[in-house]
């Protein structure tokens, strides 16, 4: 079975509030699933249910074939989980904490030290291994939490905002670690840092108000932005109006708009405009040929790939952004 994690109509209600509303999805080995959504969307609640911390109101989750409702211990043994904020026992040293986790994960004797040594290297904890966790910086605490979650080399890894509060170098390090582990595991990370999705995830789902709203590769999601594959051109202002009119007439192009305000970023005598494609197709070749045909040399010309922020806003707010204005 390649589906390591299966959610079936997973639902959680807190009184009147439906935090997670009938979410169904599959995560296969080798996938890094980015779990996106605004704060309070139900990301953490979903993860807590998969890990057996919260009991679903209805529906269920299966991890490597074990049902979280009927075999919670098997699920907990199979999963590596980094809870939100990476809580750790502050009064323990890093080594004592990791040894405690190793023992409770069922390791004994020399194997405990072997496991602790392995994650100490992976999470780069050498310099703090003997210090109490509560004296560590936020970045190190996060790495201790990460080390804890991968100590038993789980095939299913669930991480709630693993890079939250880290500096750019630390983020990069954590992402590399996740990518290195990805090929033989099923990994779910939640985040609201959208650049992260492109950086580490092979697939992204968007959740808001407890409902699953989108599911696809990061490229699929970017394609939803009207600016996906749009071409921005900057050139001399003289004769630009005719040029824009001509471009608009090309069959591949949905529309051309002149850049204004900050987006324009032009010096005197230069105008910038953006040509939007129909159906997200690549239009850089026709635009280039058209300009060359007129003998115009642009100052600058580049292809936009769309912005995850815009897609995210469009999906989670339900429409009224530029994604709705395309085509």
């Amino acid at each position: 079975m390649s589906d390591m994690i299966v959610l079936e109509n997973l639902t959680k209600r807190f009184g009147d509030l439906t935090a997670v509303d009938a979410v169904s999805m599959h995560v296969a080995r080798g996938e890094v699933l980015g779990f996106l959504g605004p704060n309070g969307a139900g990301k953490s609640t979903t993860m807590k249910m998969i890990c057996g911390y919260l009991t679903p109101t209805s529906g269920t989750a299966r991890v490597q074939g074990h049902d979280v409702m009927t075999e919670p211990m098997a699920v907990k043994a199979a999963i590596g989980y980094l809870p939100e904020g990476a809580p750790t026992y502050g009064d323990m040293t890093v080594r004592a904490f990791l040894r405690f986790i190793a023992r409770i994960r069922g390791f004994d004797g020399a194997e405990v030290d072997r496991r602790v040594d392995r994650v100490r290297e992976l999470a780069d904890l050498d310099e703090v291994i003997g210090r109490p966790v509560e004296t560590l910086s936020k970045g190190f605490k996060r790495r201790v939490g990460l080390a804890q979650s991968i100590l038993h080399d789980p095939e299913v890894l669930i991480m709630d905002e693993p890079t939250d509060g880290l500096d750019p170098n630390q983020k990069h390090q954590v992402r590399s670690l996740i990518k290195d582990m990805a090929h033989d595991k099923a990994i779910v990370i939640s985040t609201h840092i959208l650049e992260e999705v492109g950086a580490v995830c092979s697939r992204a789902v968007v959740i808001a108000h407890g409902k699953l709203l989108a599911d696809g590769t990061p490229e699929d999601l970017l394609r939803r932005d009207a600016h996906h594959n749009a071409v921005v051109v900057r050139l001399a202002a003289a004769g630009a109006d005719d040029l824009i009119a001509g471009l608009s007439a090309l069959p591949q192009i949905a529309g051309v708009e002149q850049l204004t305000g900050d987006a324009a970023n032009t010096q005197d005598g230069i105008v910038g405009f953006r040509a939007r494609p129909k159906d997200g197709a690549s239009i850089v070749v026709p635009v280039g040929e058209y300009l060359r045909g007129l003998g115009v040399t642009p100052e600058e010309m580049y292809v936009e790939h769309g912005h995850m922020d815009e897609v995210f806003r469009a999906i989670t707010l339900g429409g009224e952004t530029r994604a709705g204005t395309g085509a």
């Binding site: 043994a77 809870p83 026992y89 009064d91 323990m92 986790i101 994960r105 804890q148």
Partner: protein, 244 residues
Amino acid sequence: MRNIWIIAKRELAGYFATPLALIFIVIFLALTGAFTFFLGNFFARGQADLQAFFQFHPWLYLILIPAVAMRLWAEERKSGTIELLMTLPVTTTQAVLGKFFAAWAFCGIALSLTFPIWITVNILGEPDNGTIVAGYVGSFLMAGGLMSIGACMSAMTKNQVIAFIIAATVCFLFTMSGLEMVLNFFHAWAPPLIVDTVASLSFLVRFDAVTRGVIDMRDVLYFISLIAFFLFTNVIVVEVKKSA
């Protein structure tokens, strides 16, 4: 069993990682000493026994045990580590037992450090050491009973101070229920059966009997079932609280 032991070891080490353990032990020893000699008139009594020593234990425990118990669950919930603990392959029952045994063992350590007074009384006279052993057993059982109440109350809140106050209050009611001032309240209107039931819940009545050297199985059973009841409740409280 293994998981209970691992959790208990971590928890016990946690007490000694902070000044809490040291402060608790020092204060416990200082107060037992002070009470025994000044309030209990250890010397003036002229008797080679530890009645003067044991009789103040319930009152010390009333304050000190809730102080030890308050962090057990409240701290886990406050710092979020309960989510870590409960997603490790550990059952709630194992976690509850592990934490309780660690806290109880800690009391045992503090209690065993009162041994100089045992030596003292043996040097001064010829006490009935069987009675003294019974007193220690009774004191330890009573500590366990109060600790189970404290652990259960700690699971109800994130706030250690609230956990302490509630635990101290409940412990106080259990301890006091055998005293005349409480029973008089019931004498006025309740049938003797109810008065006896309330009196039988009292730690003091049972503890008094034990310190006189009579280890009645019913008293032992009382403490053990009390501990079992509050630990069972503790498991339920942890389960209910985490899903709310």
